[in-house]
């Protein structure tokens, strides 16, 4: 009711004699839209400002007439647009602006920011990262945008070989990962070693580390929103690269009324494996590839169409002999078709039909015993988002999501179907959000999101709030909070992600629930430096975790039977972030102090325990130094060792089905995750040099992962074949040098 009253008040508050300014902000070099650009009118009174939305569209309402304003449209890394403007009575002025990229020294920043209003300043825990900058960071084999996120405070990885995201004490299933607004269910290649995101095809990504706003939903923790490039509207462009792992090629160019982009990537490790296999059969065949495409078409200056797609596959085949083989194939497919319509200068809409599918098939034949697991999750979504720049102080956003899920899981053992599970739930969500600016120093974003999930007929209302207050020229305080629910559960192994799959929770269990609170202070003494401190607390309830002790052929596939249910927990911590954003030397130092705990009645004797990714201290250091055509980069990471479950005793039991023949010597586990591996630390370095190759821009790079060869601990296993227990610490990756070449023409 209050929301309706607010809308009515806003309607009556509109001043019909005032003017409106609206339009798109884009990059002049390639025509790509610029989201979250700052648009400010400065005159005699308080400034009138707004941010462009994710499509680069902005609108300023209720502009006083016959007043001289200085219009400034700015975006970090670009030359600001400035003009003097005067508006007439009732004028609706359309102004599309293209900003020119600035000189290199001001662009060399990873986490974008602007001194004026910006999404990051309104919403705590928000970062925007340009894919182009990630390519300058040291990596292992192949640039990876998810791995680059591990360098930010509050974000961890499970191991050196995992690109999974553990954000602020949450598991990887608690982060919603979107590609062009479509969820990708398993965004990894090579069992989690690489993410599915081709860095050449990606334009940027935004990450809400917590307390995210009402337009997002469906996960308990965080949202990573990755956007493909739109394609160069100014001319044909080709970019590519060759590394030790894969080759990439991206083509893009203009159309008479838009742009297009096609990008592909493929590993070529399989020919190498084939050569090795000719000598020995014990080498599997493996490859992955992915393909991104996008097409934009401007029907008019008020109507735009966009189609985009993603297709990626991993394929592993291990043929041992006639009776024994192992095959696994998995991959994601996603598409979107989006219509953007400017109803009026102050009313902007996006309408989308989208789909996403993840499939995984594991087929084994062990000594002529066939075993088959197949699973797929597919969704079809109808989505609409409308931004209404209602008044100078209020910008309303509303939207709906209609998603139909189609989930299947099939398990066959020895030619006998053991499990055949199919679920087809629907999720309907709608949100309403008001961005209220009661003054030039205050931003308040109040939103509500409602969900209806057909499994169990569950309704949930999720309030969301963020408040940002500029204290003076250099200090800003922020607060955000909200409620979140999750209806899908990831079934995962922590070591490898190839067999991961998602399961909708059915009516037998309540969906996961979290309450999040984030608060922070930011200090920006100059454009060059920024310091921020953020504290967070997340309360978790109705958590589930796969019950690995269910009988192999169990036909009871309800969520209650498959999962250990009714878990609870919390995650809390403090993040400190010091960043140098401009100049030849850029980078940051991040520190996180964190705690996270879980509790399940059916695990660990009902006692609380830390998940493996609970880290008390986490330090990251990132530096990038530009020297003419040379670029030098270094990362350093330090973290408290992961939690693990140690052995507390040894004992023996006879194997019940063959008690006279087999006695097993066993280790007794102590309390879950009650011990710690040694602290994790690692340094990576990177050297790049730009040069001309047949008249085109190119660069060679040398990267060294784990440069001082620290053999970090991964997990512990206990060998009890001998009277003396032999604990073995399995180590993570040693020093790994890689090199390659990137080009652009």
């Amino acid at each position: 009711m209050r929301v309706v009253m607010l809308v009515v008040l806003v309607l009556f508050a509109c001043r019909t004699d005032a003017a409106t300014l609206s339009g798109f902000v884009a990059d002049q070099s390639n025509g790509e839209s610029l989201p979250y650009a700052t648009v400010v009118l400065r005159g005699q009174g308080p400034p009138i400002g707004a941010l462009s939305n994710v499509d680069g569209y902005y609108a300023l309402k209720a502009i006083p007439i016959d007043t001289t304003f200085v219009l400034t449209i700015s975006y970090v890394g670009y030359v600001s647009y400035q003009d003097t403007v005067v508006f007439r009575t009732g004028e609706d002025r359309r102004l599309d602006v293209q900003l020119l990229p600035e000189a290199i020294e001001t662009q060399e920043i990873i986490v974008e920011a602007d001194r004026d209003e910006e999404e990051r300043l309104i919403q705590p825990g928000f970062v925007e990262i340009e894919a182009a900058k990630i390519r300058d960071m040291p990596s292992i084999g192949e640039t990876d945008i998810l791995r680059s996120l591990h360098l930010l405070p509050g974000i961890k990885s499970a191991s050196d070989i995992s690109s999974g995201l553990y954000v602020r004490g949450g598991g990887p299933d608690q982060t919603l990962i979107l590609l062009d607004q479509v969820p990708l269910y398993n965004p990894s290649h090579a069992f989690g070693f690489f993410s599915t995101f081709n860095p050449d095809a990606i334009r940027d990504m935004t990450l809400h580390k917590g307390a995210y706003p009402a337009q997002y939903g469906g996960r308990l923790g965080a949202v990573l929103d990755v956007r493909n490039k739109d394609g160069n509207r100014k001319g044909f462009q080709a970019t590519g690269g060759v590394s030790l792992i894969a080759s990439r090629l991206t083509l893009e160019g203009p159309t008479p009324k838009g742009s297009w982009m096609v990008s592909g990537r493929r590993t070529y490790i399989d020919p190498i494996l084939s050569l090795i296999r000719s000598d020995s059969t014990d080498v599997p065949a493996y490859y992955f590839y992915d393909l991104n495409a996008k097409w934009n078409h401007d029907l008019s200056d008020r109507n735009k169409l966009q189609f985009s797609g993603y297709f990626g596959r991993d394929n592993l085949t291990f043929d041992i002999d006639e009776d024994t083989f192992f095959k696994i194939r998995w991959g994601n497919t996603a598409f979107t078709s989006k219509w953007t319509h400017v109803f009026s200068p102050a009313l902007y809409g996006n309408f989308m039909v989208a789909g996403s599918k993840y499939t995984s098939t594991t087929s084994l034949n062990i000594f002529d015993t066939p075993i088959l697991f197949t699973n797929s999750i597919q969704d079809y979504t109808l989505k609409g988002d409308v931004d209404w720049f209602a008044t100078r102080d209020h910008a309303l956003s509303t939207g709906f999501y209609l998603t139909h899920y189609d989930f299947e899981f099939l398990q066959e053992f020895n030619r006998e179907e053991q499990i055949n599970l199919g679920l087809k739930p629907n999720l309907f969500s709608a949100y309403l959000q008001d961005h209220y600016q009661p003054g030039s120093h205050t931003d308040i974003r109040l939103g509500f999101r409602g969900n209806y999930f057909s499994e169990g007929g569950r309704y949930q209302l999720e309030p969301r709030l963020s408040v940002s207050q500029t204290l003076n020229d250099t200090w800003r305080a922020k607060f955000a909070g909200g409620s979140y629910h999750q209806y899908l559960q990831l079934v995962s192994t922590e070591a490898f992600t190839g067999g991961d799959f998602w399961v909708p929770l059915d009516e037998t269990v309540n969906p996961g629930r979290s309450w999040q609170v984030v608060t922070g202070l930011e200090w920006e003494p100059s454009v060059r430096y920024q310091v921020s401190v953020e504290g967070y607390y997340t309360d978790l309830a109705n958590l589930v975790v796969l019950d690995t002790r269910v009988a192999a052929d169990s036909e009871n596939t309800t969520s209650e039977a498959v999962f250990v249910t009714q878990g609870s927990g919390y995650a809390t911590g403090l993040e400190v972030f010091l960043e140098r954003r401009t100049g030849a030397l850029t980078g940051w130092i991040g520190y996180t102090l964190g705690w996270t705990q879980r509790q399940f009645a059916g695990l660990n004797g009902g006692k609380k325990f830390p998940p493996k990714y609970d880290r008390r201290h986490d330090v990251s250091f990132v530096a990038n130094y530009e020297l003419g055509r040379w670029t030098f980069g270094a990362n350093y990471l330090y973290g408290t060792g992961q939690a693990y479950t140690p052995a507390s005793a040894r004992y023996s039991l006879r194997s019940p089905a063959v008690p006279d023949l087999q006695v097993e010597d066993l280790v007794l586990p102590a309390l879950r995750n009650s011990a710690r591996l040694l602290p994790y630390h690692r340094m990576d370095v990177n050297v790049q040099r730009k040069f001309k190759l047949f008249g085109t821009e190119a660069e060679v790079f040398l990267q060294v992962f784990n440069v001082y060869n620290r053999r970090n601990e991964w997990f512990v296993s206990y060998n009890v074949d001998d009277p003396e227990t032999d604990p073995e610490v399995v180590k993570m990756l040693p020093i790994v040098p890689t090199f390659g070449i990137n080009f652009q023409f």
Binding site: G171, I320, D321, F367, D368, T369, R415, S492, E494, V545, L546, T548, R549, A551, D553, N556, N604, G605, F609, A643, Y644, T645, P646, A647, S648, R650, Y651, S652, L653, R654, S655, P656, A657, V658, P659, Q662, V663, E664, D665, L666, L668, P669, A670, R672, N673, A675, N706, Y708, R710, R711, E713, V716, Y718, V720, P723, E724, T725, D726, P727, V729
Partner: protein, 314 residues
């Protein structure tokens, strides 16, 4: 100056490489001295012997003999009847029932009490009803049509190994046993190759000489619910030719919970290594013991068996 950088670099490299530590730092809080009971009752068989051991700290030398508890009082009770066990002088930690020990009855509750040096462990089991394999067939592995029916032990003790119906060529068809499902949580299957000197029928490029040498003549399955009353033998459970016996167990809750929480009973490998786990952590989790004041198993099952003869692959 350059030399200094080289020396510093080498020191950092060497320090980085060094992430070793003493094995004792990898153990949790010592839980030695806990009573470990091991008793498995089979319906229609005499009360079994029961093993009593104790846990030993992970950093100490472990042998089953040293872990044996030799001074325990072991008592099994059912329906007002009490059976006092005695220590087996020939086997440390083994306790024997009296010579006239009663048969284990179906659908009956038995309790165990073990006392030793101020420690007491108690457990209870309710035996399942009688299990009977009603049919055993060989299926075509493509069409799943029945090729032939096996002789069972009801037809004679030796005929199951000699009858033409029970001669099975390795990896030819699927051997399926059918039984009337009981009101139990699950089933387990054990397999034993009875001819200790029979030849290997398994040949695979996957295995090397050591692997072949390690192949056992017995094995057991994980827990199955088998609600449709059928169980199929996977060929990866058979390594040798000759006489084989399959034992089907309808198990009580204690037995079922133990085998579904101790994967080492049916798979090789080190504890805690690459086992599927949930996101809350790995699954190196304390098993379900159902022993008050101790750990181990006091469980029961009803059993039926099937015999057959494995011929080399055609």
């Amino acid at each position: 100056m350059n030399s200094l950088f080289v020396i510093i670099g080498l020191c950092v490299f060497a320090l980085g490489c060094k992430a070793e530590r003493d094995a004792s730092s990898l153990y949790g809080a010592d839980e030695s001295g806990i009573l470990v009971v091991d008793g498995l009752l089979i319906v229609d068989k005499p009360l079994p012997s029961i093993f009593v051991r104790q846990t030993v700290g992970p950093g100490q030398i472990y042998t089953r003999q040293a872990a044996a508890v030799t001074d325990a009082e072991v008592v099994v009770a059912t329906g007002g009847q009490t059976v006092v066990y005695r220590a087996d002088p020939d086997s440390l930690g083994r306790y024997l029932p009296p010579a006239n020990a009663p048969l284990v009855l179906p659908e009956r509750t038995y309790s165990l009490t073990v006392r030793s040096q101020g420690r007491q462990a108690r457990a209870q089991t309710t035996t399942p009803g009688r299990l009977s394999v009603v049919d055993a067939v060989l299926l075509d592995d493509q069409t799943l049509a029945v090729i032939r029916r096996f002789k069972t032990f009801k037809d004679g003790k030796e005929v199951v190994y000699t009858a033409p119906e029970n001669q099975v060529a390795y990896q030819e068809g699927l051997l399926e046993a059918r039984f009337n499902p009981l009101a139990v949580k699950g089933y387990q299957v054990g397999i034993e190759s009875l001819d200790r000197d029979s030849e290997l029928v398994l040949e695979s490029d996957l295995l090397d000489e050591k692997d072949y040498a390690d192949l056992e003549r017995y094995g057991s399955s994980p827990a199955f619910e088998a609600k449709d009353g059928t169980l199929r033998l996977p060929w990866f459970a058979v390594y040798y030719g000759g006489r084989h016996v399959l034992r089907f167990f309808a198990v009580d809750d204690n037995w079922f919970d133990l085998i579904r929480s101790v994967p080492e009973f049916f798979q090789d490998g080190d504890a805690n290594a690459f086992q599927p786990g949930g996101l809350a952590g790995d699954n190196f989790e304390r098993p379900f013991f159902h022993v008050e004041g101790g750990i181990g198993i006091f469980g029961s099952a009803s059993m039926d068996s099937l015999g057959f003869f494995v011929q080399p692959k055609k």
